[in-house]
């Protein structure tokens, strides 16, 4: 053996022994002389890291009224083994008898929580002060029981904004599995499930944090100042363009009648009110809802969960007549004062009679009068002069057949049929020009949403010079102007004039306001399932439009008789509200757009 090797082995061995001795001595110091110190630290107070949920941002109306915030509530919970093989432990039995809880129902509920893999059993959600005072007071007799504070989402006006604000729910496995969301969500976190809560989740969501606290041997937090590892980030507030006042007056006008109304500011496109009737209370979706109550709501024939503003698809009926007119005028198949065959209450196409809504007939009308009095016979004839694809193009340029905003995932596009669509539906050439009669008066296969109808009213009012619809003021959306309309000013002014006539002398006189000119259009759509739906769309003031409104009352009857008065009364409260607002609506809008 060579000597350098032996020397090196000696050095190597020396270094190893030295290092291991250092480790051993260090362990000795930690575990022997300082043992008591660490033992106490382990037994008495020790620092633990606790996950803290970041509070969710609030949702406010345009005037600062809080629509959704967080409520801090206390739950009384028990460890998982409080219930074993349906036999309650002493703590659980004691609490059930003290609080007078029905035994069977409670045990079934807790067993269900066990099955769902909860880490603790929630005996009482949202406990009263008395209840949690009892648990804190008799801690010694109630091993395992604990009071947990947690934030609950609160919707202050419940049903009033349910369909717009939406609601939150607990994250599900899919949310946790998503790679992008994985870092963000923890089990038990809340996430927006519908409406604004869902659409602006990233804005509203708080950032979860972690804090280090000292706990004693029984797990109670001691010491006052938490040391933060990662600070909690509160979510950001969201301000809607909707107004509590205007929303409330809309709801009042509907009562429990099924239907909906939506109003926008012009030219900003800001949605001022949007109410779908009947509504539901979103608060019950964030707490515990009884199965019976749930059944009742789901099976309610008035469909309270159905968001009519965004998802309701209806035939536009006579609301479509301005579209047909603009199509005819721009295709130059008719003039603004053209006179067609007189109306005697019906029109024969082949051997089939197409009725006018007015049984006695309108007599001889020119184009403008036909729009004002909504004469079906006139529009049947106009329809026959048009191609289905021409009407489709006109409708699309007026925002129909597509979603009005990207905000809500649930918004639907409706349907504006084309020749290709009819080919698919009935087979090529298996349909006749008879469909043009129905299309011209907005019946048949055309489907629109109330949101599209208020946008249509706005586009007609402003001649297309308005912005895309928005529901949110802050975070400020990028204000995008709508594409300009492919119609001449003369034709647009002709439509505007006649819509004003509708309210002055035509079918919509019930929407008349003293001192403020209103323009509008009534509609009555046939409905295979019952009485006709009553439509009305309008804008005001007719000479300088600042607000547009669309209203539909399901199965209510005639648009002029049922929907127009609702619109008139809402416009009345709108102008009251606008005059009380010091700054005045248009000024505020101009400022907002300037910032973008």
């Amino acid at each position: 053996m060579d000597h350098p090797r032996i020397l090196r082995a000696r050095i190597f061995r020396g270094v190893i022994w030295l290092l291991f001795t250092i480790l051993g001595v260090n362990l000795f110091i930690l575990q022997m002389p300082r043992h008591r110190h660490f033992k106490n630290q382990a037994l008495e107070n020790r620092q633990v890291s606790l996950p803290i949920k970041g509070p969710r941002g609030r949702i406010l109306d345009r005037d600062g009224v809080i629509l959704a915030d967080n409520l801090y509530i206390a739950d009384i919970s028990l460890p998982l083994d409080a219930l074993q093989d349906s036999i309650p432990d002493p703590t659980l039995s004691r609490l059930m008898s003290w609080f007078g809880l029905p035994e069977q129902e409670t045990l079934a509920r807790l067993a269900d929580q066990q099955d769902r893999g909860r880490r603790r059993l929630t005996l009482i959600a949202n406990a009263s002060h008395t209840q949690y005072a009892i648990v804190e007071e008799y801690r010694q007799d109630l091993p395992g029981a604990r009071v947990d504070a947690r934030a609950r989402r609160r919707y202050l006006y419940g049903p009033l904004f349910a369909h717009i604000v939406g609601h939150v729910g607990e994250v599900n496995q899919a949310d946790l599995d998503t790679a992008a969301a994985g870092a963000v969500y923890r089990l038990g976190d809340m996430k927006g499930k519908l409406g604004i809560e869902r659409a602006l989740e990233s804005q509203l969501r708080g950032r979860n944090g972690e804090k280090i606290v000292e706990v004693n041997a029984s797990g109670q937090i001691v010491g006052s100042e938490p040391l933060w590892r990662q600070r909690v980030g509160p979510g950001k507030d969201v301000t809607l363009t909707l107004s509590y006042t205007l929303q409330a007056s809309l709801r009042e006008l509907f009562g429990e009648r099924p239907g909906c109304g939506v109003a926008i500011a012009l030219p900003s496109g800001e949605v001022l009110a949007a109410y779908s009737s009947p509504s539901y209370d979103p608060n019950m979706l964030t707490t515990v809802i009884s199965p019976a109550e749930w059944e009742r709501l789901i099976n309610d024939p008035a469909k309270p969960f159905f968001n009519r503003v965004l998802q309701g698809t209806y035939s536009p009926g006579s609301l479509y007549k301005p579209v047909t007119s603009l199509c005819g005028l721009s295709q130059e198949v008719i003039g603004t004062h053209s006179v067609l065959e007189a109306c005697y209450g019906g029109y024969y196409f082949g051997d089939r009679l197409f009725r006018c809504w007015k049984w006695g007939g309108h007599g001889e009308l020119d184009h403008g009068e036909a729009l004002v009095h909504s004469c079906d016979v006139f529009y049947y004839q106009l329809g026959l002069r048009l191609e289905i694809d021409q009407l489709h193009a006109t409708a699309l340029s007026l925002g129909l057949g597509k979603r009005c905003s990207d905000l809500f995932a649930t918004e639907v596009a409706g349907n504006i049929p084309t020749a290709a669509w009819y080919d698919r539906r009935y087979g090529a050439h298996k349909w006749t020009r008879g469909i043009m009669l129905n299309n011209a008066i907005g019946q048949g296969e055309i489907l629109v949403t109330p949101l599209q109808m208020v946008q249509l009213a706005g586009l007609l009012a402003t001649g297309g010079e308005m912005f895309h619809l928005t529901f949110v003021q802050n975070p400020a959306p990028v204000a995008q102007p709508m594409p300009s309309l492919p119609f001449s000013d003369t034709h647009l002014r002709w439509v505007q004039h006649n819509l004003e006539q509708v309210v002055d002398v035509g079918t919509g006189t019930a929407a008349n306001l003293a001192g403020i000119p209103v323009a509008g259009k009534t509609g009555t759509t046939q409905n295979p399932h019952g009485k006709d739906h009553a439509w009305f769309m309008c804008y005001a003031p007719a000479d300088a439009p600042e607000v547009a409104l669309a209203v539909i009352l399901e199965n209510a009857g005639h648009g002029g008789a049922e929907a127009a008065p609702v619109a008139g009364r809402w416009l009345h409260s709108y102008f009251d509200w606008a005059s009380q607002n010091d700054e005045g609506e248009p000024v505020a809008l101009a400022k907002d757009q300037g910032e973008n």
Binding site: L23, N26, V215
Partner: protein
């Protein structure tokens, strides 16, 4: 059975016994650490699932098999396969950077169907075998500088690739193993001087730029170095090498510092200045020290350790398993575990001395260094003597790749042992 008989008869049975003792320690500690948490902290800490234990049982079985295979491998063929091994692992290390699966920001894993493996662990084996092969071939040549530089170059390639994943802890194993083996090779005074001054240059450069925020102390150092080299009358070539190495180290360190992840910078700074990040990486060390310290002489709460001291200790089944040993088995248990490792390392050193052929000797030194570095650094981290970085405790920490690597190297040690008596 014949194979096992053969092994048991021919090898040092103490070495075999120590292997199984370490495996038993591993499983006993993992069983305890995966017990569900009871008591006041039960819903503050999610605990470690029992499935971890059962998976480790499977890995341990595979590890025993791996050890047996390595114990019978013909060493000469292993020597011949050194380059193939080096290049395949190089390829895998590049591959993992391209298609590796990413876990919390670092790409360390290759996923092959149900199997996940860490090429950086296997690269430790490859580095030991390749370095041993090169150094043993050059054994009789007088000019020792070239094999040293060649192996330095091969090691640096692995080091940089693993650092890029990024996995600082694993990357540091490569230079450590290389230094152990090159020490055995016997480095010339000039080479040693060069290496030491390079490290000094890096440290001075780091301090002057990160802490003092001036470059002049390093500039002064370089000027002094030039003066010393001139006065030392070294050969021009050697002087140039040393000077270039120093400048590269000094200029390179800020670059590497910037390359480090935020958390790694924090850990290093927090080690120099613990108050700077007391509740970031400091938190883990505080929890770990409390756990070890509360163990006392004979430990507390075996099978319920998580009830008191160990709740909230992150990574307690992997890198921080020694804290579990410290708490549940006490000073006595911790010293027994350290003694087992010490036995393995010193045995490796003995084998290196006894071995007639150079290749097994270098293997033994490489393996001894591997175990020494892992154990010393891991225990030093858990007991608060070194900044936190990922470093498993070989054969005990949870994790398949490291267990198989350690078992294979352990098997090689047994293999060398059998041969050193044969020959």
């Amino acid at each position: 059975m014949h194979l096992i008989d053969q092994i048991v008869k021919t090898v040092d049975q103490r070495l075999l016994l120590v292997f199984f003792m370490l495996i038993v320690f591993s499983l006993a500690l993992l069983w305890s650490v995966t017990e569900p948490i009871r008591g006041p902290y039960e819903d503050l800490d999610p605990g470690v699932p029992k499935s971890i234990f059962f998976r480790q049982v499977l890995w341990a079985c595979a590890g025993v098999l791996m050890m047996l295979v390595a114990a019978r491998l013909p060493l000469r063929q292993l020597e011949n396969a050194a380059w193939l091994l080096y290049l395949s692992l190089l390829l895998l290390l590049v591959l993992v950077l391209v298609v590796g699966s990413s876990v919390s920001g670092s790409r360390r894993w290759l996923v092959l169907g149900p199997l996940r493996m860490q090429p950086s662990e296997l690269a430790k084996i490859a580095l030991i075998i390749t370095t041993a092969s090169i150094l043993s071939r050059q054994h009789t040549v007088r000019r020792q500088i070239w094999p040293a530089l060649a192996t330095l170059f091969l090691m640096t390639a692995y080091f940089l690739l693993v650092l890029r994943e990024p996995d600082l802890g694993t990357a540091l194993v490569f230079p450590a193993i290389w230094m152990g083996m090159i020490f055995w090779f016997g480095i010339s005074g000039v080479f040693l001087l060069g290496l030491l001054t390079c490290v000094l240059s890096a440290v001075i450069s780091f301090y002057s730029q990160s802490v003092l925020e001036h470059a002049w102390p390093w500039s002064v150092y370089i000027v002094v170095l030039i003066g010393l080299l001139y006065m030392g009358r070294l050969r021009v070539l050697s002087s140039a090498f040393i000077l270039l190495g120093n400048i590269a180290a000094g200029l390179g360190i800020p670059y590497f510092w910037d390359r480090l992840q935020d958390y790694q910078q924090k850990r290093i700074m927090s080690f120099f200045d613990p108050a700077s990040d007391a509740f970031g990486s400091g938190y883990q060390v505080i929890q770990s020290k409390v756990a070890i310290g509360s163990g006392g002489l004979f430990g507390t709460h075996y099978l319920q350790g998580t009830q008191k001291g160990l709740a909230f200790l992150p990574e307690r089944h992997t890198d921080f398993i020694f804290s579990v040993a410290g708490e549940e088995l006490g000073f006595a248990g911790a010293i027994v575990i350290l003694a087992l490792y010490l036995f393995v390392i010193l045995r490796g050193l003995d084998l290196a001395l006894k071995s007639r052929r150079p290749f097994p000797a270098y293997l033994a030194i490489g393996i001894a260094t591997y175990f020494a570095f892992h154990v010393v650094v891991n225990v030093a981290i858990t007991s608060g003597l070194l900044p936190v970085t990922g470093m498993p405790l070989p054969l005990i920490s949870y994790g398949g790749s490291n267990l198989l690597t350690s078992a294979f190297l352990y098997g090689l040690l047994i293999n060398i042992d059998a041969r050193s008596f044969d020959l």
